[in-house]
């Protein structure tokens, strides 16, 4: 990650930490929700942006993490965070291992369709069987705690915990992407044929990326289940897979901060178009406004919102260094 990216991340995390001081309970809830989406988007960024694997079934891992949280928590007394969190993450990672092992044998559009198919499979399992309470979903009996120190029932404590998770995932991915493993993933994205000719067995690399991505999505699912206190099959639906893909593309594929920016932009746009105070009765048709805005963004900013500073600079400096800037806009 370059210096401007790191600076952006530090400022963004400081701003998020300051949210409780300025926002009411609605604001705290909204920001917590968006940060969970941001973790979810980061998980997809590792696959779609960094490795070039467009997974269209990411919601399955999110939903399985959420359902695991509810199904594994005991009926009486608050469960311990120490084992609930890893258990949910492991369930999502295990499903990612199966889906990845099979879907990574395909490429391109086929990969997209196969990941979608596996996600739909998981969706119908929770939707049509009594396992997960069917279409109604199920409630989480009690929210997990970490001894006497951390009670996730309190919105502020939960916001702090989510922020910590988001920061940890961000730093982990930033380190991962600059490591040899991350460079190999970048190489696979740009030219897998050359990677294989150089002596990299690319399949295990892609599978590892897939499982890590699934685990992070599972973490986001865990947080989502704890935040709302109940889960529904919609958490595994393809709508959510599509929404997270739009977040990552909106923010800018190939940049970690793009996933954060995209999650916030997408969720805030959704809030904006759903607001009856602004749009009155038209707010019911919020999909239209959101969709048109996303299309406009993608058309005007093909590299995503992270590209905005670079484009402004180019406007100001003229087009002399255009090709060089263009190369720099390519994800590294």
């Amino acid at each position: 990650m370059d210096r401007s990216g790191a600076l952006f991340a530090v400022l963004a995390f400081l701003a998020l930490a300051a949210v409780p001081a300025v926002a009411g309970s609605f604001g705290v809830d909204l920001v917590t929700k968006i940060m969970i989406y941001a973790i979810f988007a980061l998980s997809l960024e590792l696959l779609a942006g960094s490795t070039g694997l467009v997974c269209f079934g990411q919601a399955a891992f999110f939903g399985i993490g959420a359902y695991a949280t509810v199904l594994l928590s005991p009926q009486h007394g608050p469960p311990s965070l120490v084992w609930m969190l890893p258990a949910s993450v492991l369930c999502a990672a295990a499903y990612a291992l199966i889906v990845g092992a099979l879907s990574l044998r395909t490429k391109g559009a086929y990969f997209i369709m196969v990941t979608l198919a596996f996600a739909q499979m998981a969706y119908y399992v929770v939707h049509d069987t009594p396992l997960g309470g069917g279409t109604d979903g199920i409630y989480l009996a009690t929210k997990p705690v970490l001894g006497p120190w951390l009670d996730l029932n309190k919105p502020l404590a939960f916001l702090g915990f989510t922020l910590g998770c988001q920061a940890a995932v961000f730093v982990f991915l930033a380190l991962l992407l600059r490591s040899r493993f991350g460079r190999a993933l970048a190489g696979i994205r740009v030219n897998e044929q050359r990677m294989r000719a150089s002596g990299f067995s690319t399949y295990p690399y892609k599978l590892a990326a897939f499982v890590i991505s699934g685990a992070i999505a599972g973490l986001a699912g865990f947080l989502f289940a704890v935040k709302d206190g109940f889960v529904t099959p919609e958490l595994l639906s393809w709508h959510l897979s599509a929404a997270v893909l739009v977040m990552v593309i909106l923010g800018g594929l190939g940049h970690l901060r793009g996933a954060l920016i995209g999650a916030f932009a997408f969720a805030l746009l959704q809030e904006f178009f759903q607001s009856e105070a602004i749009f009155g009765a038209f707010a019911r048709h919020w999909h239209l406004g959101l969709g048109l805005t996303v299309i406009a963004c993608v058309a005007l900013l093909p590299h995503g919102l992270v590209q905005v500073p670079g484009q402004l600079r180019e406007r100001l400096l003229g087009r002399a260094q255009r090709s060089a800037t263009e190369m720099r806009n390519e994800p590294l």
Partner: protein
Amino acid sequence: MSRSEILLRCREITHRWGGLVAVDRVSLELERGSVHAVIGTNGAGKSTLVDILSGEIASAAGRVELLGQDVTGWSQPRRASAGLGRSYQRTTIYPSFTVLENCRLAAQARAQKPWAWWRDAQRCKASIAEARNAAQRAGLEELLDRYAGLLSHGQKRQLEIALCLATKPRVLLLDEPLAGMGAGETEGMLNLLGELKADHAILLVEHDMDAVFRIADRITVMVNGAVIASDTPQAVRANPEVQLAYLGCD
């Protein structure tokens, strides 16, 4: 050359694309210290042969030995790790990476350590040293920080060779390294091949006949997937069958 050292050997390699026999029972040996050129008209099966030797496609029949080991069932990455480097007819580089990072990533194949996720790849001294060395041998030491996509065509071809060298191969399979190169660049590449042949076994697929007859120690001629001659350049030039099939009668 003290004694012959055969680094790569293939026996009776056959491959079919549907009903077409692209490679028909081809056997050849690559020795250290020699450039073995494979010539033939378009569609003679030269590139398919390189693909089979490098493990990119599986052959229908035949056997490939690398450094005395039977590698017939090995995947391409495994063969590459065992010392087989190849270049492509169509340039196969990482356009959005710098020249140095292109070479570094190739060199990383020798020291992958994917589990060390907290360690910066740019601090891996061994692979950076190897990358600089490969770039320098290929004549790109001035362009280390240039994005590979911005290089000229000839420079991209040089980078293609550098990517090959950075993995420290013993055997080089070069598929038309001179294609589209200017006279000066061709000269540089031939000098490089001359240097490399001391400690590598080189298979050269090439259309530039002047270059082939200048640098090759042995020439194999393929027609319709089959070998019709395999001999020294002088003998191949004098072979009437080759003249008829390929070189033309002049």
